[in-house]
């Protein structure tokens, strides 16, 4: 995969995006409604809440070959389920540091808060994450060859 990607000049990474249904998924929709363009790299998985996303799921995405992961939820205080994103924030803060500690490149696993009214911000995040992952190249660590 690595070599294949190197040969492909315009390699487009695949990034798994876990988006909470109430804010970030709606923000992604709004980006569409407003026609903000961003790279076609995201594969969005709709989850009820960022608090639904576990470390296991993020690792599974990497293991399955995702070049990057984005988890996005409501801004703190806006959680549809009152406090899900607060727990998520702790889980992710610890996980992100930890993954970077064992050598996963910073930029591979990303988190954001995007509200339902932040269409442009969603596109910005999509662009930013894609560009970070592109700079890093295809994921190599933790990828399981099936």
């Amino acid at each position: 995969m690595n070599d294949k990607a190197k040969n492909q000049k315009d390699w487009e990474p695949k990034i798994i995006a876990f988006l909470c249904n109430w804010c970030s998924y709606a923000g992604a929709d709004l980006a569409g409604v407003s026609r903000y363009q961003y790279p076609p790299s995201l594969r969005i998985v709709r989850v009820p809440c960022s608090g639904r996303v576990s470390a296991n799921m993020i690792l599974d995405a990497l293991r399955s070959g995702a070049d990057g992961v984005l988890v996005s939820g409501c801004h703190p205080g806006d959680c549809h389920y009152i406090s899900g994103n607060y727990y998520a924030r702790r889980r992710f803060a610890v996980l992100k540091n930890f993954l970077e500690f064992i050598g996963i490149e910073p930029g591979r696993v990303n988190f954001s808060w995007i509200s339902a009214s932040e269409g442009e911000q969603f596109a910005e995040v999509a662009k930013e994450v894609t560009s970070r992952v592109k700079k890093l190249g295809p994921a190599r660590h933790l990828v399981k060859e099936f």
Binding site: N21, D29, V33, R35, Q37, G51, D60, D78, A116, S117
Partner: protein
């Protein structure tokens, strides 16, 4: 009255109207919601964030609007105006004119092609003219209905038929109808609710503000739009003159409020102090540079609501500069900046320069609304707000017509929402015999059992006209779908959501014996319910369905990359197919309802709530810990409007005692509570077990008695020192000792807004001032001094403050670091305080010293909240489910709150809140069963370690430890399906139905498959 009509007219589609509509439609009444613009949402939809939680306004509002828009029993009439209302409570005839939209709402798919092509740009009123829209437009991105409208004032075609017409040519859905005309509707309803809201004060009347003269002087509403991500600068916060980010911003308070001179508005607009602080906080946060200097010029900082004072304190800590000063005139400075000159309290002049000045404009009634009120025979008060009285806070002068929101007085969102529910309650009270008589209900065929069947998946790929098809190769995607495992049918449709395609889909499901369906089209957020309903119509469980979002999240965002977008669409379809394969039929959960209520606390709130429910025929158990009815209000003399409380209270208690539906338990407390919404069981201390479907907590609060410490002021030591309520007692008794007094002093904020009790008690300013007026009227020659920190006579109560001043009552401001000092010389009280204006120590010799002491939460509220699994604030008041939009609900379904246990509030707000709580409880009690979430968590006991992480992270107390097995169990009646427990569980012992780890992994892995 013969049998009333079971329908209600609501005028105004802002948050108040929407809330009232939902409350009524969900409890058995048909609602006509009339809105004059092209979409509901009102002023709240224009706001960026809301205080004090900084919630995104559109985000929290949108779900309510969508619910309203989709509701089977709400008839949304946009672009409509009420022409006349004839009749009486129970039966009103209403004429409504619906103006033409020129767009067929059944056809419009809101793709936006029309607006893209429309050549006519006009100022966008939603952005208060700061941005532009087209002549064919969507009021705002999240508008409900999400349908375009043509503005006939600006449409080239409508002005000169034959010219332009581009929208018609480009519309893929054939939705443009230039021949549309106004329609008149004759509605027959039982009651009417007016929720017409307010308009922001126009400061161009005040030339000294420079508004309209200087570009960088904007109103607060304009600033909301400048902050908003959907606003004219996409949330980048630019100032109008040069589109640069302002670094230094000033807010000027009381523009168009508390001004009987040029603004002609003597009232306080109640919300401006808080929104100004919020804007300052948000501006600081928003700023890309990170350094915004924010200064707020004010006269009294009015942060009198729940969580407001803490917000104010935090804002101060974050460096927002609060200047107790008012600017006379805004002056131009170089670079389009603005200069202000102002005198501090010490009289010293200072000058400062700002990049942007925000005028905190007040709220006023729109003249159009005044005309309508006049035509409908609704009395307005001297401030042009709908006239109401304290004991009847949502009743207008015309019987059967109710009012809520800012039309009755300037107020914030939660108060408007409360009143909306209260107004709904009043309508229900009249119309309850006709409940469910005019509502509609959807019927479905029985569902096929698909458990044993292997997956037979059908995939429907939508072209959405050209919205998807112009970018994504939909045929290739359809062909690809055929190749996926389990897929037995795939088809491409022009508009999958069109009525004929929907009918066809149902046929195909039956014909092909599909047991799983995937639609690849727009977004589940708007269309999932529609397709799920189709599944039900075709006789399969609606949860056997997935959507692939190939429009909003694909074709629309990769317009220039058709190949990549097609590839992505295939991925998304594959992911959806992988996910749907694992979907199981889920139960449509519901909980049967015990149609009776428990009301805890028999003060004004509890009595009102109990009566409100009992009057609708619901049995109520009313529990009061004391041995008599009345609660805190038994100590009150009169309302701020001058109505005597005791006679009202007696009447209220009398009605409760006489009501056969109310079972009163005096001297009783709640010992234990079990069950959940619809099915509570409560043990009382008198041994009674009460079964009830809903509960209202109205346990009140206490008055703080400063027996010792810093706020003592000789209370309990000198006989002439009283609290407000003690003086009320003397008023009630008409104590002759109060005649012939020479001097009285009131000290405000005794024990409120202090470190140990950092909240504002909201009621004391008004109460103290009213008492001072009463004393002064008894003894016109008497001198009365009010020692205050900020006067917080919000709303129309400001008139009372003005009256007090006009009577010669003297107000002296003090600070926490410069407290009044109280001593006595041979029994005679001496009060010393510094007057900051003339910088002098003033010595007073009152005959009476009144302490406006705090309202404090009761100590035992914590135990009660635990029984009902309700949360508390750090101040010790009960915490509602959402500060803005669910002000009387607890996070625990079926439990509601009202009165002082929520936060200090005057009797009119208590009554409104109690009625709101009754209305919300009515949502449960009016039905045989309440729906519960289907996508719930489920525990695999074999794997569960009983570690209880899941119970700790569950915000709804839906996961608990089974006392026997010591394993987690989920109460499906409480579970909302958020999945916090699932992510927290290390053992994979708890999962979410149809959103389990395996299914998510399947989707993730499918995304990565190469093909």
């Amino acid at each position: 009255m013969s049998t009333p009509k079971g329908s209600v007219l609501i005028v105004g589609g802002g948050i108040a109207g929407v809330q009232a509509a939902l409350d009524l439609a969900d409890s058995g009444f048909y609602v006509h919601l009339v809105e004059k613009s092209s979409a509901i949402g009102g002023s709240m939809s224009q706001l960026d964030k809301t205080f004090p939680t900084n919630d995104c306004s559109a985000c929290i509002l949108s779900p309510k609007l969508v619910e309203c828009g989709r509701h089977l029993n709400i008839n949304l009439l946009t672009l409509s105006e009420v022409l006349s209302i004839e009749g009486e409570p129970g039966s009103f005839r209403v004429k409504v004119r619906e103006n033409p939209r020129y767009v067929d709402v059944d056809k419009c798919i809101a793709c936006g092609s029309c607006a893209e092509k429309c050549p006519k740009k006009v100022p966008n009123e939603f952005d208060l003219g700061l941005g532009k829209r087209k002549a064919i437009y969507l009021r705002y991105p999240q508008a409900v209905p999400l349908k375009y409208a043509i503005d006939p004032e600006h449409c080239i075609y409508l002005k000169k038929p034959g010219r332009c017409g581009f929208c018609e040519k480009v519309c893929p859905a054939d939705a443009i109808n230039f021949k549309d005309t106004a329609r008149e509707h004759d509605l027959h309803v039982g009651s009417v609710i007016l929720a017409l809201g307010f308009r922001p004060f126009d400061p161009s009347r005040l030339d000294f503000t420079g508004y309209g003269q200087f570009k960088n002087v904007v109103t607060s509403m304009e600033f909301e739009r400048l902050l908003s991500p959907s606003g004219p600068c996409l949330g980048h916060m630019e100032r109008p003159s040069d589109h640069q980010e302002p670094r230094k911003i000033a807010w000027l308070q009381c523009i168009g409020s508390r001004d009987i001179n040029k603004a002609c508005h003597g009232y306080c607009s109640s919300v401006c102090c808080m929104y100004a602080i919020k804007q300052a906080v948000i501006a600081k946060e928003h700023s890309e540079s990170g350094d915004v200097d924010a200064t707020i010029f004010f006269m009294d900082m009015r942060t009198h609501g729940k969580g407001f004072e803490a917000y104010y304190n935090r804002a101060r800590d974050e460096g927002i500069d609060f200047k107790r000063a008012r600017v006379h005139t805004i002056l131009p400075a170089a670079n389009d900046n603005l200069k202000v000159r102002f005198a501090g309290e010490d009289g010293k002049i200072a000058e400062d320069e700002f990049d942007l000045v925000v005028l905190s404009v007040g709220l006023e009634t729109d003249p159009q609304v005044m005309r309508l009120a006049h035509e409908l025979g609704i009395e307005l008060d001297s401030d042009s707000f709908a006239a109401t009285s304290c004991f009847r806070p949502v009743e207008t002068s015309r019987k059967g017509i109710f009012v809520c929101g800012a039309l009755a007085e300037p107020k914030d969102i939660p108060q408007s929402v409360m009143e909306a529910s209260a107004a709904a309650l009043e309508a229900e009270r009249i119309l309850h015999p006709a409940r469910w008589t005019e509502t509609r209900k959807k019927e479905f065929p029985p569902e096929r059992d698909v458990h044993a069947e292997p997956p037979r998946i059908g995939v429907f790929v939508c072209s959405c006209g050209i919205n998807i098809a112009s970018v994504v190769d939909v045929q290739a995607v359809t062909d690809y779908a055929w190749t996926l495992p389990g897929v037995v049918f795939a088809q491409n449709n022009l508009f999958t959501c069109s009525q004929d395609t929907i009918n066809q889909m149902a046929e195909i499901i039956k014909r092909e014996r599909l047991n799983r369906v995937v639609v690849a089209s727009c977004t589940p957020r708007t269309h999932e319910p529609l397709f799920q309903e189709t599944l039900r119509e075709a006789g399969i469980n609606k949860f056997l369905f997935e959507m692939a979002n190939i429009r909003d999240q694909d074709s629309w965002v990769h317009q220039d990359e058709p190949d990549a977008a097609t590839l992505k669409a295939k991925d998304l379809v594959r992911m959806a197919v992988a996910k749907v394969r694992g979907d199981e039929p889920l139960p449509y959960n519901s909980v049967p309802v015990t149609k009776s209520a428990l009301v805890i606390g028999a003060g004004v709130a509890g009595l009102t709530a109990a009566l409100s429910l009992a009057d609708q025929g619901f049995p109520v158990t009313l529990v009061e810990r004391k041995d008599r009815l009345g609660g805190h209000a038994r100590k009150f003399f009169r309302t701020w409007q001058g109505q005597e409380v005791q006679s009202y209270l007696q009447e209220l208690a009398g009605m409760v005692e006489a009501n056969a539906n109310i079972d009163v338990h005096l001297g009783t407390t709640v010992e234990d509570v079990s069950g959940s919404v619809g099915q509570f069981r409560t043990m009382l201390s008198d041994g009674t077990e009460v079964k009830h479907g809903a509960a209202i907590v109205a346990v009140g609060a206490e008055s703080f008695k400063p027996r010792q410490g810093r706020w003592n002021y000789l209370y309990g030591k000198n006989p002439n020192v009283h609290t407000l309520l003690e003086l009320d007692q003397r008023f009630i008794k008409d104590d002759p000792g109060l005649k012939g007094l020479n001097q009285a002093v009131f000290i405000h904020c005794v024990g409120s807004r202090v470190p140990e009790r950092p909240y504002c008690s909201r009621v004391c300013c008004t109460h103290a001032i009213d008492q001072a007026i009463h004393l002064k009227e008894m003894n016109p020659d008497m001198d009365i001094f009010m020692l205050y920190r900020d006067i917080r006579t919000y709303g129309k109560r400001e008139h009372l403050y003005q009256k007090a001043r006009s009577l010669g009552i003297v107000f002296i401001r003090y600070d926490l670091d410069n407290l009044p000092r109280v001593s006595e010389t041979s029994g005679r009280l001496v009060v010393e305080v510094k007057d900051p204006i003339i910088d002098a120590e003033v010595t007073l010799h009152p005959d009476l010293l009144i302490l406006a002491s705090a309202v404090r939460p009761r100590d035992d509220v914590g135990e009660l909240s635990k029984l009902f699994k309700c949360a508390m604030t750090s101040d010790g008041f009960l915490l509602e489910a959402h500060m803005k939009l669910r002000p009387v609900d607890f996070a625990t379904d079926g439990v509601y709150l009202a009165g002082l246990c929520h936060y200090p509030k005057p009797v009119e707000e208590t009554i409104a809140q109690a009625k709101a709580a009754a209305s919300r409880a009515g949502l449960v009690l009016s039905r045989d069963a309440v729906p519960a979430e289907s996508i719930t968590a489920v525990v695999n006991a074999q794997k569960c370690t009983g570690c209880s992480v899941c119970t700790k992270v569950c915000a709804y107390h839906a996961v608990n430890m089974d006392a026997n097995s010591q394993k987690a169990v989920v109460d499906t009646g409480l579970c909302k399906g958020c999945g916090a427990c699932v992510a927290g569980c290390r053992s994979d012992a708890i999962t979410l139905k149809n959103l389990g780890n395996e299914q998510i992994m399947a989707a993730v892995e499918a995304a990565m498959e190469d093909f």
